[in-house]
Structures are given as C-alpha cells and as structure tokens.
C-alpha cells in the first residue's frame, strides 16, 4: 500500500457495512434497494420535502438584500450543494455514511449567515463557511474519541430541541398567525394536509404510507385552490421563470475573505451543527436497526465528513450552509424506507432540479399552511425520537439535571427570543440558537457531572443474603454511568443467578468480590472468589411440559440449575469461567 493510501486510510477510513436487523414497520433499510418506481417515488418525496424547506434559503436571500434574479441563483446553488451532499451521504465510500440522509439549508446556520453577511459582507460569511467545512471534516475522525462527550442523553436533548425548533415555524404557517390573529383558511388547509398525512401513516401500509406527505400536500393544495389561496398569481410567478438555466446564473459567487470576528460565530455554529449531525447519525442508525444499542461511531464519523464537505461546498458557492435534515429523517421513519439508493437518487434529482428553475419556483409557491402541517408532523416525530433516546438510559439526579437544564435553556431562547436583545450583534446568532445553547449546556453539564464518577466499582459479597445489596449496587452504578436500563437489568439477573448457583453448588468460599466496569460499548462484571470455576453447561435437558406431569422433585431441582446456567448464557454476550491457583473468576460481558 502506498504512503498516500495509508495516509488516506488513517484520516478517512474506508466504508464498512454494519450488521443490522430490520425493525418492524420498516419496509427497506439502508442496504436494501426498492424497485425503481418505488425508489424514484420515495426519492421524489424527499426531494419535494427538501424543496419545501428551501424556504430557509429564500429567507436568507431576502434578508441579505438579493434581487429576484440573484435570489433564484442563490436558491439553485443551495439545491445543488444539498443534492451533492445528499448523494455523497448515500455512497459506500469513505466520504459517506451509506445512509439516506438528506442535506438542506438549515435554520441553525441561517441566522448566523444573515448576521455575518449584514455586518461583514457575504464574502466574509463565505470565507468563514469554507474554513468551517474544512475544520468539521478534520473533526469527524476525532468524534469516536469524544463519545463520552456525546452520550445518548445529549443526542436526545439535541433531537428534542430540534423538534421544538420546528414548532414555531410550523405553528405560524399552520395557523397563518401574523400578529393580528389566526387565519381560518390557513387552519383549514393545514388541518386537511395534516389529517391526510397522519391518516395515511397510521392506517395504511405500503405505497400509500410511502407517499403520505406527497398525498397530504396534494390534498392541501386542492383545499388551498378552493379557498383561493393558490392559483393564477402563484403560477404566474412560476411561468415567468425560464425552463432551463445554469444554477448559478443571476448570482455572482462572492470572493471569500477571512474576518476573525465573522469566522468565530460561524465556526461555532458549524461545530454545533456537526454535533446536530451526530444526533442525525444516531437517529438514522436506530431507524435502520432493531438491535441498535450504541452509536456506530465510524459511520457517524463518515457522516460528519460528508457534512463537512457539504459545508465546504456551501462556502464555495457563497450560500448559507447546509446541514442534515430532521424533516427528511422523520419522513424516512414514517415512510418505512431508509434505503441508501433512495438517498443517492434524491441527491441526483436535486442537482437536476437545480437546472429547472420553474420546478423549484413552483415548490416554493406551495402555500405556507401546507408547509406548516409538514413541519408540525415532523416536529412530533423528532420530539418523540429525542425522548426515546433520553429515556433509554438510567437516570439519577445528575443526569436528570443535565437533560432537564439542557432542554430548559434551549427552550428559554425559543419561548423568550427577546431575552437576547441586549446581546452583542456578533453573538446573537449563537445565543439566539436553542439548539446551540441547549446542546452546549447539556454537554457542559455532562462533563462536569462526570467528575468523581469512576468507570468501575467493586463490591464485596459476604453471602447469599447479599443479593439485595448487589441489586442496589448495580442500580446505583447504572445511574451514575447513564447505562442502558435493559443492559443493567440483564447484568443484574445474570450475576444474581451466578451467585445463587455458586451458593447452591457449594464450590465457593465467601466473600466473592465483584468488579463492574463500564464504557459506552460494554459492561463487564468480574466475580473473583476462592473455589472452583463455575460450570454453566446444561447437565441433561429437561422439558418443562414433561416436568409438569412428573412427581419427581429432584428433577425440579435439576431444572432450576439448568435454568440458572441457561439464563446466564443467554443474557451475557460473553462468559468466561477460569481458575488459577485455587481462585476462580467468572467474567460476564454485556454489549452496551
């Protein structure tokens, strides 16, 4: 292998497929490929959802004072960047996660780009974005080493805040609220859209479920047309556009410049956005795997690498940065299709669509209540996904405060945006981001609360009466570490059975010293005692049904012994029973 090859491998390791079990409710997971018609239809659905959320780029373009002509080019370049990053994410290369992860202009980076462009010029925003993209790509390989900084609870806080961040935009569009009251036609349009989407998602399966959002949108458009909220005016805007144009026509790419005061806030936002994409990586991994029990850090590192490439592209194109889409994540979960091929097709579709300005213009003319209904629907999904992650771990007061304060601090900014009105302008993009504040709070508290928590613990068990003490010890350790409740439960059952077996067979002298060690990947229990190694083999299989009709109590005792050994073997992922010089060790390892 050449030197360059080795260097490339060390910085960007090659793709490796993960073993997965398809969850119930999923039709196609990452490595599976639906038929072409289904792939195109679902990819089209993702492309449409993304195009609806291109509204964030439209908002940015208007805020930085672009003309209509420049705005068209600005939006088209955003779609190209999103399409390339989405395609790359779906590849099985060292620069893609191999998952259906859609990139789009995000509200997280929107505010920062506007603030920097208005203060320092678009060139400074572009330069900062380019630098941030390179740094994020460099950070991607460090992330596996930082797994203690980003445990499930932090990812869960992030997802909850992601969901909450969609609520305001969704609710305003849903209700047509404009400061002077609600708009009944908006509510009717949005409710129709949402009811159709939910109805199809809950009560149908197969293709109808796949196209729930598109069908819901169509129904919303019909109601909007009847109510006079969609029609000639909107279509005129579309037909005025040329049929074909190069994406960057109309928008002059800015010359990137490096301004320190501009770079710092954008860099911080991009790092936080990279943290956001870890949550996306965890979520898409969970969606694809019924046996998910920990973050696939090499995959997440590749996902972040691709995220960095997307940011770099956005900087080179002089547009607001792109990130991973929570709305499309919710769509993948809801539709049951998470095939990487669909992601690649969606990416290519977006690039092609960027050359067809009438298409993208039409999408952005979709009535806001319809967009609002989709945002409300996906907000719900993100909220629940975040709560599931948070509650998958054992909680104690430290973790409760870490999660609670993280969500609270993020929510303060959402509920009271005026609270930062006195902050320096250059800090407002950061302080005004619920995601940034909430996640940084949770991460900081996580690091602080880890102080004094050892990653292992030891208890001396003096007799079989120590079983209750053992359970309390494991419970306390599990809470300290934020271990997965299910795993600690299995460990508790297995070690309890081991103690009873040791006590019952009389091969040990008390005390037994139990050491428990934890990292994010496994929990290890080592039982060290004076005596013989434990034998977990089943002496003679006994049928429960036969035993029900048997009067022999000895058979009953043998069954219990068999069950004990069987439970230990089934619950632990690895069992080792060894001895040395009169001392024996039983080692139980549980994948975490």
């Amino acid at each position: 292998m050449s030197g360059w090859s080795k260097l490339l491998d060390s910085v960007f390791p090659a793709f490796e497929e993960t073993e997965r079990e398809k969850p119930k409710g999923m039709l196609y997971i990452a490595e599976e490929t639906p038929g072409l018609p289904t792939s195109f239809a679902v990819a089209g659905q993702h492309a449409i959802v993304l195009l609806m959320l291109v509204v964030y780029t439209v908002i940015v373009g208007r805020e930085i004072g672009l003309s209509q002509e420049e705005l068209r080019g600005f939006v088209s370049m955003g779609i190209v960047a999103a399409g390339i990053a989405t395609f790359l994410q779906g590849t099985t290369t060292r620069f893609g996660s191999g998952h259906l992860v859609v990139h789009l202009p995000t509200p997280v980076t929107m505010a920062g780009f506007i603030a920097v462009s208005v203060t320092f010029g678009v060139g400074a925003a572009a330069g900062a974005t380019i630098l941030s993209g390179i740094i994020v790509m460099g950070l991607s390989r460090l992330l596996p080493k930082l797994r203690s900084v980003f445990p499930a609870e932090v990812a869960g806080v992030l997802l909850v805040l992601l969901g909450l961040s969609l609520v305001e935009g969704g609710a305003k569009r849903f209700t047509g609220f404009s400061g002077s009251g609600l708009d009944t036609p908006s509510i009717l349009i949005a409710t129709t859209t949402l009811v159709v989407i939910i109805g199809l998602s809950v009560w149908t399966s197969g293709r109808l479920k796949l196209f729930a959002i598109v069908i819901g949108t169509a129904f919303g458009l019909i109601v909007a047309t009847i109510l006079g909220r969609f029609g000639q005016t909107e279509l005129k805007v579309v037909t005025e556009q040329p049929l074909f144009s190069l994406p960057f026509s109309g928008y002059t790419l800015p010359t990137p410049t490096l301004v320190l005061a501009a770079t710092i806030p954008i860099l911080l936002i991009e790092v936080i956005s990279a943290v956001d994409s870890i949550g996306t990586g965890v979520a898409i991994d969970k969606i694809n795997n019924a046996k998910w029990h920990r973050a696939d850090m090499p995959m997440i590192a590749r996902l972040v690498t691709c995220h960095g490439i997307g940011v770099l592209l956005a900087g080179l194109f002089g547009i607001n940065s792109i990130g991973t889409s929570s709305a499309n994540l919710g769509l993948a979960h809801a539709s049951g299709v998470a095939s990487r091929k669909v992601g690649q097709i969606a990416g290519l579709m977006l690039v092609v669509l960027a050359f067809l300005p009438q298409v993208s213009t039409f999408i952005t003319q979709i009535p806001q209540p319809v967009v609002g209904a989709i945002l409300v629907y996906t907000a719900g999904y993100m909220l629940v996904a975040g709560m599931e992650l948070v509650l998958s771990r054992m909680l104690n007061s430290r973790r409760t405060f870490m999660i609670g304060l993280g969500i609270t601090v993020g929510s303060v900014v959402l509920l009271m945006p005026e609270i930062i009105s006195g902050a320096p302008e250059s800090l407002k993009p950061i302080l005004g981001s619920a995601l940034t504040l909430g996640t940084v709070t949770a991460m900081s508290l996580n690091m602080i609360f880890r102080i004094g928590i050892a990653q292992s613990g030891t208890i001396q068990l003096t007799g079989i009466e120590s079983l209750a003490k053992l359970t309390d010890f494991l419970e306390e350790k599990g809470e300290d570490w934020g271990a997965r409740r299910q795993v600690m439960m299995r460990a508790g059952i297995a070690v309890g059975e081991a103690l009873e077996k040791l006590s019952g067979t009389g091969i040990t002298n008390w005390p037994i010293v139990l050491k428990v060690s934890y990292d994010e990947y496994k929990i290890t229990l080592d039982m060290d005692y004076e005596g013989e190694p434990i034998n977990l083999a089943v002496a003679k299989p006994i049928s429960l049904d036969d035993l029900m009709d048997d009067d022999d109590d000895d058979a009953l005792d043998e069954l219990v012994s068999n069950v004990s050994g069987m439970l230990i073997g089934q619950l632990a992922d690895k069992v080792e029973s060894t001895s040395d010089n009169g001392r024996a060790t039983l080692k139980l390892v549980f994948d975490h």
Binding site: I464, L467, E497, L544, M548, L556, V560, S564, Q570
Partner: protein
C-alpha cells in the same frame, strides 16, 4: 406477603424479591393457600422487583399442583425483569400471565 380472597379466588402478592433467600417462605405460604390445587389462584407481582431461578421453582411447583388438582393459576403485573426471566426460561408458555389482577379474574370467569 399479602393474601386476599375475592370470591373463590386467592390472590397472593409477594413483596420485593423472590429468590433463594426467601423462596422457601414464599413456597410455604403458597402451599398453605393452594389446598389440593382445585381452586383458583392469582400471584400478583406488582410489589416484586426481582425473581430468580429459585423463584421459578416455586412457580413451577405451584403450577404442577394446580394442574393436578384441575385448578387455575395466573400471574399478573410482571415488571420487565420478571418478564425477561419467564420468557427466557420458557415459563411464559406454561403459566398464564396477565396485565392486572382484574384481567386475570376476568379470564378465570
């Protein structure tokens, strides 16, 4: 352990744990109330955190006696740990389990 009679059904509610330390005691109480196994018994696990294979022995003996006597046995309010143990050991296939005492009593009628 709490003991309650509702009509012709005996409801037993062990507390905290059923393991090698207290399973003889639990067995004693169960068999004091089981008679010849002709009646109906519900074991309510709502107050139980943990069961071990020693506890399974008691359940199996109880189930055998009820089967012999033509009676009915139901377990209810199992937490995740107890369900996991019963499932892995195959006991869910030989003893009926219910979400609550009321659903168990309804099944007995």
């Amino acid at each position: 352990m709490l003991i309650e009679n509702r009509g012709d059904v005996v409801i037993l509610a062990p507390r905290h744990r059923v393991d090698t330390n207290n399973s003889p005691e639990v067995e004693k109480v169960v068999f004091e109330n089981i008679g010849d196994g002709e009646g109906k018994m519900v074991i309510d696990f709502s107050q139980v955190d943990y069961i071990s294979s020693a506890g399974l022995r008691v359940l199996l003996k109880t189930a055998k006696q009820m089967k012999k006597g033509g009676g009915k046995l139901g377990l209810c309010n199992l937490n995740d740990q107890i369900k996991e143990v019963l499932e892995l050991s195959g006991f869910l296939g030989i003893i009926d389990c219910y979400d609550s005492v009321d659903s168990c009593l309804a099944a007995f009628r």
